[in-house]
């Protein structure tokens, strides 16, 4: 894991002191809310539906037990004993007091964390593959590149006031576990025919009001030009992005309006200009960073396989673990989606347990997944049963990864002031309704957003649900056929919306169509793609 050097630490500590002063001045009435709001947002502090909400950055979703313990302590000391893991691999606290916010930031800084650039029109936390460093199919560990970009983008003076917020994801596998093509910039690290590492750039994707899949802008940017190319891509956006219209200000609109070819031409022109300026950090810096991400001391020649005599354990192994690059290890995913639970929420005790288990069984590493779960990237198969037993006792042993119960849901109207409808109760009811059939339904990704902003990724759900306000009451649109994996696609609205009970029935009806029409080995998404939307419409609306 990356460790702060004295410069990183000083930067974060200085920011804490600065924010402490800003809060004191706000509380003393020396600055107005209008003056203070942009300052608190720069430190991840929102005023939400019920209270202040603090969003803490977890760079590329990676954290160690010391950090997870600190997050748990913050939940107890300053909040109400829980936190919410988000689709951008961050954590949010819902009940923060303004007067205590500087102390929280100081506690975070003590474990090399912060909330900087988790809000506002800047480059946000860089996300990545939650199995980075463990995945058997990656060409290289993407995290050093994500960390390099984190350092480049932190306090980047030119990009602190972009037309809109900017999200970057970095992966290094054919398999996309980070919704890469649905980011402002998606980067896939690849190897060319000569065996060199480079970056494939996909620019202008996104969800929200106008969902778009990013086109590929450059198939191979040499690794010694990664930062320069990013700088060029951002510069063109910063120059021409639509500041006149908030709804058209994301880079996806610019790329769409210019066309991918013209956008690429402008980026290449800017890139050539920037190359002459020599802004790329020396490769030695990337090597320095990469050293932090060296493999942990994996054991060789470990026995493979597990004792499957406990059927509940066997089910969990089949569902929630994935192959590792080193034989004898797996990556295990802890589901934060118990049946009927709140997706992504974890109590402070659960956080501490996950931290302790990571220290004992996963080389002290955890990853927040964009699906709002926690992955332990490197677990010996021999330790899996003990691990699962401890998880299960704490209500964390649910076996439902990528199944109907593994629902992404944004906070929705229960917490979010922008929401039109509640997401969480719909997720809870759906997970209860579909639980008996979940194994039969197989891979089924349900994603729920409480408004058009799409924090719950509804456009990318095999089944997506969008909450809307219909004359002052909650209403839910059903979408089908989305994917945020390597076969990225955008879901389509099926027809008129439903009330809360109706949407749960509608999803069950849609799964019924799938079960009736599927051919051997087909997932829900495959069946949908083969038969199209009409049979679903017919079943839903007659």
């Amino acid at each position: 894991m990356y460790r702060y050097d004295t410069y990183d630490q000083q930067m974060v500590d200085t920011r804490v002191a600065e924010f402490r002063d800003q809060v004191a001045r706000r509380l003393a009435g020396k600055i107005t809310e209008d003056q203070f709001k942009p300052l608190r947002l720069m430190n991840g502090l929102y005023l939400q539906l019920h209270a202040y909400m603090l969003r803490v950055a977890i760079p590329y979703g990676t954290l160690d037990s010391r950090q997870m313990h600190a997050l748990a302590d913050i939940a107890d000391k300053y909040d109400r004993g829980y936190g919410h893991f988000t689709t951008r691999q961050n954590i949010q606290y819902n009940w923060i007091k303004l007067a205590e916010a500087p102390d929280i930031l100081a506690d975070l800084a003590a474990v090399e964390m912060h909330a900087i650039q988790t809000s506002g029109n800047c480059i946000r936390n860089i996300s990545s593959d939650h199995f980075a460093g463990a995945a058997a199919d990656e060409v290289v560990d993407p995290r050093p590149y994500a960390e390099l970009l984190r350092q480049w983008s932190s306090f980047h003076p030119e990009f602190t006031a972009l037309p809109r917020k900017f999200k970057i994801a970095v992966i290094a596998s054919e398999t996309d576990r980070a919704a890469m093509k649905l980011h402002d910039i998606g980067i896939r690290m690849v190897r060319n025919d000569a065996g060199e590492i480079g970056a494939q750039f996909w620019v202008g994707g996104g969800m929200g009001r106008t969902p778009m899949i990013a086109p590929c802008i450059n198939e191979f940017v040499p690794v010694d030009s990664l930062v320069t190319y990013c700088e060029a891509a951002l510069r063109v956006y910063n120059r021409h992005g639509r500041r006149d219209n908030k709804y058209k200000a994301r880079i996806k609109i610019l790329v769409h309006e210019l066309g991918a070819d013209e956008y690429r031409r402008q980026v290449e022109e800017e890139f050539a200009h920037l190359q002459a300026q020599g802004i790329e950090p020396p490769l030695a810096e990337l090597e320095r960073i990469s050293a932090f991400f060296a493999d942990p001391p994996f054991e060789k020649d470990l026995p493979r396989g597990v004792d499957r005599s406990d059927p509940d354990f066997a089910l969990w192994v089949d569902t929630n673990t994935v192959p590792h690059k080193v034989p004898g290890y797996v990556a295990a995913v802890i589901s934060l989606k118990p049946v009927g639970g709140i997706p992504g929420d974890a109590t402070s005790d659960q956080m501490r347990l996950m931290a302790d288990l990571a220290r004992a069984y996963s080389f002290d590493e955890m990853r927040v997944t964009h699906t709002q779960n926690i992955a332990l990237p490197h677990v010996r198969q021999a330790d899996l049963y003990t691990l699962w037993k401890k998880l299960d006792e704490a209500g964390l042993g649910t076996a439902n990864l990528d199944q109907a119960g593994d629902i992404i849901a944004c906070p929705g109207l229960d917490y979010c002031s922008l929401a039109n409808a509640r997401s969480i109760p719909v997720a809870q009811k759906l997970s209860e309704r579909l639980a008996p059939n979940a194994a039969e339904l197989g891979e089924l990704k349900i994603k729920i957003s409480g408004c058009i902003n799409a924090c719950g990724h509804h456009h990318a759900g095999h089944i997506g649900i969008l909450g809307v306000d219909r004359k002052g009451t909650e209403n839910y649109q059903l979408l089908l056929g989305g994917s945020e994996a390597e076969d990225t696609s955008l879901a389509k609205i099926v027809g008129p919306g439903f009330d809360e009970a109706g949407i749960v029935d509608a999803v069950e009806t849609a799964t019924g169509v799938y079960l009736a029409q599927r051919t051997k080995g087909e997932r829900f998404l495959d069946t949908y793609r083969r038969i199209g939307i009409e049979p679903f419409k017919e079943a839903l609306y007659g």
Partner: protein
């Protein structure tokens, strides 16, 4: 009726204008009428409330309620964690949003 709501500056807690002060309980809200905007401006300037705004309310048999579901949830706390939030004194509060 027009009711006035905002957040406590220090704690962020949701508050309601009672005619002379700010209460954590929506039942205490009064009809701020045509004065609502000016009260909001005055109270915010005095830092007795943060980011106040006027919403539609309605008088029911059981007292004042926000008219829109978003404000009812705001008054009630998250419907999915009633155990952790300050609920209005109305024991029926949990049914407001249904």
């Amino acid at each position: 009726m027009k009711i006035l709501t905002g957040n406590d500056l220090k704690t962020g807690a949701v508050t309601w204008w009672t005619g002379y002060d700010w209460s954590l309980h929506v039942e205490d809200a009064i009809d701020a009428g045509a004065e609502a905007e000016s009260i909001a401006a005055r109270e915010e300037a005095a830092r007795r409330v943060n980011a106040p705004y006027v919403i539609a309310g309605e008088r029911t048999e059981k007292g004042v309620r926000p008219a829109h579901i978003k404000d009812r949830i705001r008054a009630l706390g998250p419907t999915v964690r009633p155990d952790l939030t300050l609920k209005p004194a109305d024991p029926e509060a949990g049914n407001w949003v249904i």
